[in-house]
């Protein structure tokens, strides 16, 4: 109940902060992108538009998750709006979870709209859309669940700018964790090898959530993999939010 109140308020704040303009940006990118493909007239343009749309959801969603997420708790402390909130009979974990869920609801809405908009556009262009397109979109959302959790964690620890830089690094490296276990020969026997390999297991692997090329090219993906990835995302996010709550629990505001 109190969590929902905080969540609803966070959602409302983001909407009134005009975060939803990102949808226009997305539409612009997809439409201009598809036109560009038409001009250069390389074949298979429907595939490319699907690919572009899913990549766009991932990138624009991540922008919201990182920029809104890393300032989520920090801004409340900085602007002192948190004073009268903490003075309510509200547990601090309720505040953190409420903020997180509010932003997630917004991101879910944004991904849903992007997914619908692009699907309709693709159908208009004569392409075909099946349920895997929406499953791929949902996995983008699951990835953002994790990015948002990480951003919220940093919003309890550091300034938004520093937090955004760190989460952005996580995001970039998290898409390329494969290189860490696929190290070139020179690393053989050096101390850095186990460290880097260790990182592979510790860093969240964002690439796991991308089933974009499979879906675009009609390569089958198993439901058990989808289920596994959803559980992976939920557990990892829960862990980050748990850390965020620990950090916030005894913080002076």
């Amino acid at each position: 109940m109190r969590i929902l109140a905080v969540a609803q308020n966070t959602f409302r704040e983001s909407v009134r902060d005009k975060v939803l303009y990102v949808l226009l940006l997305f539409a612009g990118v997809v439409i201009i992108g598809s036109k560009a493909i038409g001009w250069i007239s390389i074949g298979q343009d429907i595939k490319i538009i699907k690919d572009l749309s899913l990549a766009g959801m991932s990138i624009f969603g991540a922008l919201i998750a990182i920029f809104v997420g890393t300032s989520l708790v920090y801004k409340e402390i900085d602007k002192k709006t948190i004073y009268t909130i903490i003075a309510q009979p509200l547990h601090r974990y309720e505040f953190v979870i409420g903020k997180y869920l509010g932003l997630l609801a917004l991101i879910f809405g944004v991904i849903l709209l992007m997914s619908m908009m692009s699907a309709i556009y693709i159908v208009i262009l004569g392409g075909e859309i099946n349920h895997w397109y929406f499953i791929a979109s949902f996995l983008v959302f699951m990835k953002l669940l994790l990015v948002t959790a990480l951003s919220v964690l940093f919003s309890t620890l550091s300034s938004p700018i520093l937090g955004a830089i760190i989460v952005f690094c996580f995001y970039v490296f998290g898409h390329a964790t494969g290189v860490l276990i696929d190290l070139p020969r020179q690393f053989e026997g050096s101390w850095s090898k186990p460290v880097l390999e260790g990182l592979y297991y510790v860093l969240p692997n964002f690439a796991n959530f991308d089933i974009r090329s499979e879906v675009v090219n009609g390569v089958p993906v198993s439901y058990s993999y989808v289920t596994y990835i959803i559980i992976y995302g939920v557990l990892y996010s829960t862990f980050f939010i748990y850390l965020a709550i620990l950090m916030f629990q005894r913080k002076d505001v």
Partner: protein, 324 residues
């Protein structure tokens, strides 16, 4: 009579992690506020008033010691079920309207839809928010903000109100309005704990005061006991005093200033003032103005500081308590 302490602190201490000159922002603070009391929390800038209030409201974690609301430790959010808090400067979600703001805080207090609507009607009526109900707060003036802040504090009709300098930054009309609101809440049987460094606000409202100096509680009790409220000096303005009378007056009191055909003297007691006045009137002068001088909060703080420094030199810790 058995009164219950609705608010209580025991050796409450706060040391900020960043190094400050005296180390402790609040040190070993112990006091009790009883149900139905209006308690004034006095202290100069930087004395530690806000720090204490923030610990009571759960914003800051005490370095040591405890604070209790109705016997419940303030680190437990349940202690805040019956608490209303007005911060030093109220900050709001600027993108909300007053109506949305009150509804939001009602939800945090756990009220249901019907109770929320009733609460909005009650508070918007009490503070006159109807005409601005649906304007976003970012457009509001200081006085309107203080009203909204007060309304937030009153959400859920709490028994304990903690107000951090509720009248600072307001014009006389605004101050009067807030004073009336406090008085009103008092009549409803609420307990009010408010900080201030303005004596007149405190004098008019408080049953008891606590005085904080450099993080330590230096006195608690009725304001008349804490301040030396007996008349200390009397200032008199005369008109048309004969020159021949001046030596006589200078003997009894101190000449403060002269201008045109006026003179202003200060006398140490009422009695000497009266003697001087009698003599002057007898000789054709006129008394224009007579002002008794009482100790002000500023004088009090100066006196405290002097005592404190003297005690420090002697290596003692100064602590006085005036019980009612």
């Amino acid at each position: 009579m058995n009164t219950i302490a609705i608010l209580k602190t025991v050796s409450l201490t706060k040391k900020y992690s960043s190094i400050s000159a005296r180390g402790y922002a609040v040190q070993d603070l112990s006091f009790e506020v009883n149900k139905g009391e209006v308690f004034g929390f006095l202290g100069r800038n930087g004395a530690g008033k806000t720090t204490t209030i923030k610990m009571i409201c759960g914003l800051l974690l005490p370095t040591s010691g405890n604070a209790y609301i109705n016997g419940c430790e303030t680190v437990d959010p349940n202690s805040r079920r019956n608490l209303g808090y007005l911060p030093e400067q109220p900050y709001f979600y600027e993108y909300l309207t007053p109506r949305e703001t009150i509804h939001f805080y009602c939800k945090l207090k756990g009220l249901n839809v019907k109770e929320r609507e009733q609460e909005w009607l009650r508070l918007s009526g009490l503070l006159g928010l109807e005409s601005i109900a649906d304007i976003r707060l970012k457009n509001f003036s200081k006085g309107m903000r203080q009203k909204i802040g007060f309304a937030i504090a009153l959400v859920g009709n709490p028994d304990l109100l903690i107000l951090d300098e509720p009248m600072s930054g307001l014009d006389p009309v605004g101050r009067k309005h807030i004073r009336e609101l406090i008085q009103q809440q008092k009549e409803l049987g609420k307990t009010i704990f408010f900080s201030s460094h303005v004596l007149s606000d405190v004098e008019q409202l408080c049953d008891r005061v606590g005085v904080l100096s450099r993080g330590k509680l230096v006195a608690t009790g009725h304001i008349k006991d804490v301040l030396q409220q007996d008349i200390r000096q009397v200032e008199v303005v005369f008109k048309d005093v004969a020159v021949s009378l001046m030596p006589f007056l200078k003997q009894r009191g101190t000449l403060l200033r002269t201008w045109e055909n006026y003179v202003q003297f200060q006398f140490d007691t009422i009695l000497t003032a009266n003697q001087a006045i009698a003599e002057c009137i007898h000789n054709g002068a006129v008394v224009i103005e007579l002002t008794p001088q009482k100790e002000t909060l500023e004088d009090y703080f100066m006196r405290m500081q002097i005592i404190e420094e003297q005690q420090k030199k002697k290596g003692e810790i100064y602590y006085s308590r005036v019980e009612e």
